[in-house]
């Protein structure tokens, strides 16, 4: 296929392609920076990187409309950024500064930006799957046509809440899309060691009357296309989907995990199939000039630098917010 042919037959469109590339790169450079800042003790607590998994966040977010909702896990930087939340706000939260998304009260595992439809990051495995059902139920009940997307890992498929939620979603035919990011590992344990089937999500789909779907989670186009299909189904009132995206995290599970549990050569193999490398090449195939790509690279790097500087300059959350927003009246009074 020549570039010209490729462009003519492109179901995705060159603008969306630029967007998908940029989105992945934003996540990549942001997270690399987060890691550096972690080593400098400027990112506090814990942080869970999605290096290598960017195509999933970018592909799904690229297919979402304004008003669509996303629910993710502690490994949620990517999904938060992909929906358009400002880097500074996300990094501020990781650095536990007053400019953070939740002013440091939530921390990196609970990134939330309701105005962007980022309905929270949940740090207890499995909980957000039923919660996502509820958000989708609201849409169905009120006759709204938004879709709820719920991201989680391979390891999450073995906890009870997964099972309850997927069955529930199917029985009520809810407009929710469950996305399993199969990066082959729980924290340090290979998913295959603790799962009765090879594909922890897809091989369970039939148990909920759902189609078996596996996609290359490192190919943003594949992800984007499957997202569109699933969203169309959901919006048409045809119920939930369960999608397993095959991917790999380049980094450790969290913080300074060196990933010693990986077999030799595994990471290297996956680095060959790096989503950003792949997509950069793809852009070329669709006629985007190297200079144009390089300009995106530069712009994103600058964006990350600016966010970093802003966060370094930001203050700490003030003591005055410590006891606010426990209850809806803004306060925390449990007694009169």
């Amino acid at each position: 296929m020549t570039v010209a042919e490729a462009i003519v037959n492109d179901d995705i469109g060159i603008d969306k392609r630029r967007e998908l590339y940029r989105s992945q790169l934003e996540i990549r450079l942001f997270e690399k920076r987060a890691y550096d800042l972690f080593l400098q003790n400027l990112v506090k607590g814990t942080s869970h990187l999605s290096l290598g998994q960017e195509a999933i966040a970018a592909g799904f977010a690229g297919a979402m409309k304004k008003g669509d909702l996303s629910f993710c896990t502690y490994r949620g930087h990517a999904h938060t950024l992909a929906r358009g939340v400002a880097m500074e706000k996300v990094l501020g939260e990781l650095m536990q500064r007053d400019n953070g998304l939740m002013r440091g009260k939530g921390g990196s595992m609970h990134l939330t930006s309701a105005e962007h439809g980022v309905m929270g990051s949940y740090a207890i495995i499995g909980a957000h799957l039923p919660i996502a059902c509820g958000a989708a139920w609201r849409a169905q009940y009120l006759g709204q046509d938004d879709v709820t997307v719920c991201f989680f890992g391979d390891g999450t498929t073995n906890i009870g809440a997964f099972h309850e939620a997927v069955n529930f979603a199917k029985v009520w035919e809810l407009p929710v899309v469950f996305v399993c990011e199969n990066n082959l590992y729980m924290e340090y344990t290979p998913i295959g060691d603790v799962t009765a089937v090879e594909h922890p999500a897809a091989d369970r789909a039939a148990a909920y009357g759902l189609e078996r779907i596996i996609v290359d989670g490192n190919d943003a186009d594949a992800v984007y296309r499957i997202a569109q299909t699933a969203f169309a189904k959901a919006r048409a009132g045809q119920g939930p989907s369960l999608i397993e995206c095959m991917t790999y995290r380049h980094s450790g599970h969290s913080r300074a995990d060196p990933g010693a549990y990986r077999p030799k050569g595994e990471l290297e193999k996956w680095l060959q199939h790096d989503p950003i490398k792949l997509y950069r090449k793809r852009l070329g195939e669709f006629g985007v000039a190297e200079a144009e790509i390089a300009a995106i690279d530069t712009a994103v790097a600058k964006q990350v630098d600016e966010a970093t500087e802003a966060c370094k300059a930001a203050g700490l959350p003030p003591e005055s917010i410590l006891c606010t927003d426990v209850y809806a009246d803004g306060g925390w009074a449990w007694r009169n």
Binding site: L101, A127, I131, G134, R138, T148, E164
Partner: protein
């Protein structure tokens, strides 16, 4: 004014709120077509239809999770957990999700919902279907916790719970479902966080909750009649927010505090009230604070054993008489 059972009051309260607000939806196991295992929600399905009153699978996590997601995005769900003991199978939502989402998101999201649940002993159901577990939610910051003792309170407090923008755990006592009481006509709306002095008294304050309220009242009558001890009986009604003004005010007046708790001893709600009183009314107290509770054991099934194990009016009387002498 109509005489309603506590069970009927539940359905009336839910109906009142569903009528008022389209956003109120109701889900749970066997709650819709069958009207609930305690028959406390009979008629709602026929009246409000399958879209608003929904039967679920046996998936308590899905029930509470769905309620939370709906609440976060604009509905006002009421979820039923059939027996309060089953809160244990979905406790992550009670302890970690509902109460923390507002705080963690710095107020971006809220969780306005009600979990109704059948609580308490007296049905000879044994250790896994009879517990009083208000403390399972009282100890979690971010929840409100209510436990009414009369049909009128059921309607008014349930309405207040539904309208409250926070997650509220609403404990209905299984052994009160059949109890009847006068309930005013028309809309009823009570206030969370208000205790009620049901019997004024000078000599001692008895604080009770749910099924223990009628028992405390009965004990107070016996104490007055047979022992010349005039007790003030307070129905706590709402554990969070806790009406410490009413409770401490009474202690200041009477100088003595007794709690009557159905829960096993350790960390029953009375422990908290006792600890507040021992701090803030220490110099008003004329004698020890005594907690009258179920012993710290799982509950037996056998009727004769179950009857002994919960605080009875006789036990309350005996403990108070002994402490006051």
């Amino acid at each position: 004014m109509a005489e309603l059972s506590y069970r009927e009051a539940v359905a009336r309260g839910i109906a009142q709120e569903m009528e008022r607000d389209e956003r109120v939806v109701f889900l749970g196991e066997d709650v819709a077509k069958a009207g609930g295992v305690f028959k406390a929600t009979v008629g709602l399905y026929d009246r409000f239809g399958p879209k608003r009153v929904r039967d679920t699978p046996i998936s308590e996590q899905a029930i509470l999770g769905a309620a939370m997601g709906a609440a976060m995005t604009g509905l006002r769900p009421i979820a039923e957990i059939m027996f309060s003991d089953f809160l244990a199978v979905c406790y992550d939502f009670i302890a970690n999700e509902f109460p923390k989402v507002r705080y963690m998101t710095n107020g971006q999201l809220g969780c306005p919902l009600v979990v109704r649940t059948g609580n308490g002993a007296g049905s000879r159901f044994g250790a896994q279907h009879s517990q009083s577990v208000e403390n399972w939610s009282m100890m979690i910051p971010g929840l409100k916790v209510v436990a009414p003792s009369s049909p009128a309170d059921v309607v008014g407090l349930l309405a207040a719970a539904v309208r409250d923008p926070n997650p509220v755990i609403f404990y209905e006592h299984k052994s009160l479902y059949a109890v009847k009481g006068e309930v005013p006509d028309g809309e009823i709306l009570d206030t969370l966080g208000t205790a009620k002095i049901l019997r004024p008294g000078r000599d001692a304050t008895i604080v009770a909750l749910a099924l223990m309220v009628p028992r405390a009242l009965e004990a107070a009558e016996i104490l007055a009649r047979d022992h010349g001890i005039d007790c003030e009986v307070i129905d706590v009604r709402s554990l969070v927010p806790l009406d410490t003004q009413t409770i401490l005010g009474s202690i200041v007046k009477t100088g003595r505090l007794f709690t009557v708790e159905e829960n096993p001893r350790l960390l029953g709600w009375g422990a908290e009230i006792a600890s507040i009183a021992a701090d803030e009314t220490f110099y008003d107290l004329d004698g020890p604070i005594v907690r009258i509770t179920t012993p710290h054991i799982p509950l037996p099934a056998a009727d004769n054993l179950e009857d002994i194990v919960l605080p009875t009016p006789a036990r309350i009387v005996e403990k108070i008489v002994r402490a006051m002498n």
